[in-house]
Symmetry: none
Subunit: 189 residues, 4 copies
DNA sequence: CATGAATGAGCATTCATTCAT
DNA sequence: GATGAATGAATGCTCATTCAT
């Protein structure tokens, strides 16, 4: 889905992994360089600064997530079914890409992510906003603020994934169903 | 409730404020020293390292939160009433202490918080665990994993407080009630 | 007057302009490449190194200056008239080519200009040496060291041009005459 | 004459020497640190940045020069005598402090010296301006622009000192007298 | 010959920590 | 105990130069 240079991808992957491992601020560019096998100079050829790299990676990852979330969605299905599908897609992506979860979580408050980047990232969630709006209009979801619903949906997935990844709680099929249902019951009419 | 030296408190307060303002990694010890009026030497007398300071502040803050959460709780009240009280206490504390929320969120994945510290912090939530256990035993809460419930309870408060503080959504009384109810509906039978 | 490749000239011009604008050490080769439209590879084909480029540009510019200085000189004229002509030619060239002045001044002490280059550049001033020698022999100039006279002549032109270019002092015709005369009175018998 | 910390002086002296030897842009802070025996951290404790260090050194040196220039000047002396004294003081200081000459010359066009610094440095030459003004009023100096006179006076000293230091011309007593006289004849009525 | 992506040594600067006073 | 000047390893970034195409 991307026409990015091969090297950009290597840098992205390496950075993602290193930040998940060592944290946003314990990941020097020199380490990214060494581990990716790409010289610092080359990295700075593709990215203006470390900040730029992180911000672009953030956008890349956010877009990737959204692309996964709506996979296999059918227009024919019941709203609830689609809700479960979205939740499940999102959850599966996160637990299969724990570095993404770690990275995104670390970015969630970090000032290194610029306001402009956050704005851009919000555009990716347009389909989700649309999905929620439709749910309210249909009367399937309770009529409350869209951002609150979005935050709860997102939050429930992320929290569950974190519990799973941190091994505080093994989320098997049954448990996952319980988690999805918990969030659904909170939001649905 | 603590017998910590006056200076330790000043350092804690200053650090909390600075980390909320500038971030966990843009808060040099020299700045903490300057802004608190306590020399770096003195700070290093009380805290072995910056890491130690952050970890102890984390514990201090987590304990403080838990103390607030159970304030004014009555054994006579209905379970749901107490759930609402806890949620409300927690929420009000966070929105009145946004630096605490910011600090805790920044710490939530940061590797600077050691496993041992996280373990210790979990002890403070014992009363909450007990409260949830009781809810399940009574059949008021759905019978699922306690950590999942805990995470959802905590998550719903934090998410709502973040929406409020970031001004993405002004949480008035009605909206707050909606938020509490959303979480309650998800977790209750 | 030169059979240098077209490209070499473009590189020279670009470098001259950039060094005048940004300084000898804030002019990366990559910028010369970008602004001249000639790839770094090609530049390194013509010049062994940045140092070589600067040194050759220095020689080129020094020769250019000397060519201008003796323009329109007549063997018939009075010595003083020729002195005034030389001074004026030199001065006019500098104020019409401020990038040259800036470049030459920056090079005047910079270690990037090699001793060998300075030696070569001195050969260009042979006609000036000759002119001064003749002046001494004729008894028109005071009998002192030729290099001192040369330095004073050069110095008075350069200083005056710098005052003009930096706009500390607008050198109109009258002022220019005063400047020339000042230097002449110092050196003449 | 200064109440600067001992360390500041050591840094100044080291920087002056290194810049004279290696040039303004081949003098890394690490080398200043190593050669001065003062850690980079300590240098950055005294100076905000390399730029600040250079600018403050520039002011320090300019003030020092001016202090030397007026040494032993008597109000009773003839104007010409004082002119010779000033010229001589300035010249002797420069040839005894060749690193100062090299440094000041390198700074003369370098953009690292900020406009504000140049403005401040101009205040030090007030006594010289006054001296020249008096000369014009008395009719001893030719009535031309003060900045032109100042530039020629300064220029003649600097040029002569450079010839001497570079060993292009050994300036003995007689030669020095000739040089002073040359400049005086140019400027005087 | 020409290109320009890639290299990596080198630089300015920061900041956790120490220790002489 | 308290101070804060001093340390120096570590980091983000630059840029002269090379070399595969």
């Amino acid at each position: 889905m991307n026409v990015l240079s091969e090297k950009v991808h290597v840098v992205f992957d390496t950075t993602l992994r290193l930040i998940a491992e060592h944290g946003l601020h314990n990941t020097p560019m020199s380490l990214v360089s060494k581990q990716s096998g790409i010289s610092t100079g080359a990295i700075y050829h593709y990215f203006e600064s470390k900040e730029t790299l992180i911000n672009e990676l953030y956008l890349y990852v956010k877009e990737e997530i959204m692309n996964k979330v709506f996979e296999d969605m059918s227009a024919d299905s019941q709203y609830k079914e689609n809700y479960f599908l979205i939740w499940n897609n999102y959850f599966e992506y996160l637990i299969n890409n724990p570095t993404v979860l770690s990275f995104v979580e670390q970015c969630s408050i970090a000032p290194i992510i610029k306001e402009e980047t956050r704005k851009k990232a919000e555009q990716f969630i347009a389909p989700l906003i649309q999905f929620i709006t439709k749910g309210i209009q249909k009367g399937v979801l309770r009529d409350t603020d869209i951002h609150l619903i979005l935050a709860y949906l997102n939050g429930s997935v992320v929290i569950t994934a974190k519990l799973h990844i941190s091994k505080q709680l093994i989320i098997n099929k049954k448990m996952k169903h319980m988690a999805i249902e918990t969030s659904w019951r909170g939001l649905a009419n």
